[in-house]
């Protein structure tokens, strides 16, 4: 069982304070959904936690011990699926898998995941956006980081693959804590164990879909 906490995270862009004294806690076994309008700081939050963007101020704790964002990558505390595709476009799926996993049983987990056998001879650059997203998620999710952060994992993914993704993520909660941010709120709500909405730089706890309407993230017509 591992825990990850962020306290007092603030970040400004110019004069605009995007996140202000923001706090977040997650433990193994939890799936935290993060919602918010475009530009509210969701992706920035994930990048800062991963150590690839700067914060004005942040305190991070891993298992209760202080940890600097720049130590996240070298210590492999968090696996991160960024918004943009990150696989080398010229490499085939079957060549990428052994780059991520030395052990054959871990390679097999990806090779024999639903839908992968159809694309093993395809170059990453020739995959559809949905296939690419799904494949990237399988790679990052099967690494042994104790935490996983997913920035729009359901984006451009066809319904059938979405179900595979949900099943896969639910399986990962046995060993990992997962943070998901995505505008496909129904997909996130169907697997998350807790949710927050980022509004005016603060985190608001969300229990059900109706609260996303009340807080102004979803339009009234969805009532």
């Amino acid at each position: 069982m591992h825990s990850l906490s962020v306290n007092g995270f603030s970040r400004s862009f110019g004069t605009k304070r995007v996140l202000d004294d923001f706090n977040l806690d997650i433990k193994s076994g939890e799936i935290l959904g993060i919602f918010g309008r475009n530009g509210c700081g969701k992706s920035t939050l994930l990048k800062v936690m991963f150590g690839t963007a700067k914060a004005d101020s942040i305190n991070m704790y891993y298992d209760g011990r202080p940890v600097l964002p720049r130590d996240i990558i070298p210590n492999s505390y968090i696996g991160y699926l960024p918004q943009d595709p990150f696989l080398p476009k010229g490499l085939k799926v079957r060549d990428i898998i052994p780059m991520y996993f030395n052990k054959s049983h871990l390679q097999d987990k990806v090779f024999y995941a639903p839908g992968i056998h159809r694309i093993t001879n395809t170059k990453a650059g020739n995959l559809s956006l949905g296939e690419l997203r799904y494949f990237e998620l399988l790679l990052v999710g099967n690494l042994d980081h104790p935490f996983l952060m997913l920035d729009e994992p359901f984006s451009m993914v066809e319904p059938l693959y979405k179900e595979h993704i949900k099943e896969f993520l639910n399986g990962l909660t046995a060993t990992k804590g997962i943070i998901i941010t995505d505008h496909y709120y129904k997909d996130v709500l169907s697997i998350s164990t807790s949710n927050i909405l980022i509004k005016d730089g603060k985190a608001i706890s969300i229990d059900k879909e109706g609260e996303l309407i009340q807080k102004g993230y979803l339009p009234e017509l969805l009532k």
Binding site: P82, P85, F86, P88, L91, M99, Y100, V140, L143, H145
Partner: protein
């Protein structure tokens, strides 16, 4: 390690081209030196411009940008050293 080899090759394609240009202009003794300095800088810069998002491929494997650059420098220094010594001695 296989992932690093992919990064190493991608960075050094540009490095090698830049270093050969330097060698043609300034003499072949500059080739091993450029592979660890100017050419390497050009390779890293080009990667940062054209393949920036691919750094996340390596981040997830525990490689930071600095570590990747240091590993490429280390490998190139090891490979260049004998050639540099040959040029110095002869």
């Amino acid at each position: 390690m296989r992932a690093f080899v992919n990064y190493y090759i991608t960075v050094n394609v540009v490095n090698l081209i830049a270093s050969i240009i330097v060698a043609i202009m300034g003499g072949w003794h500059w080739l091993p030196l450029s592979l660890c300095t100017f050419g390497l800088g050009m390779g890293l810069l080009t990667y940062n411009i054209f393949y920036k998002s691919q750094y996340y491929f390596y981040y997830n494997l525990g490689y930071t940008k600095k570590r990747l650059a240091a590993m490429v420098f280390g490998c190139n220094a090891l490979l260049s050293l004998p050639f540099l010594l040959i040029f110095i001695i002869f």
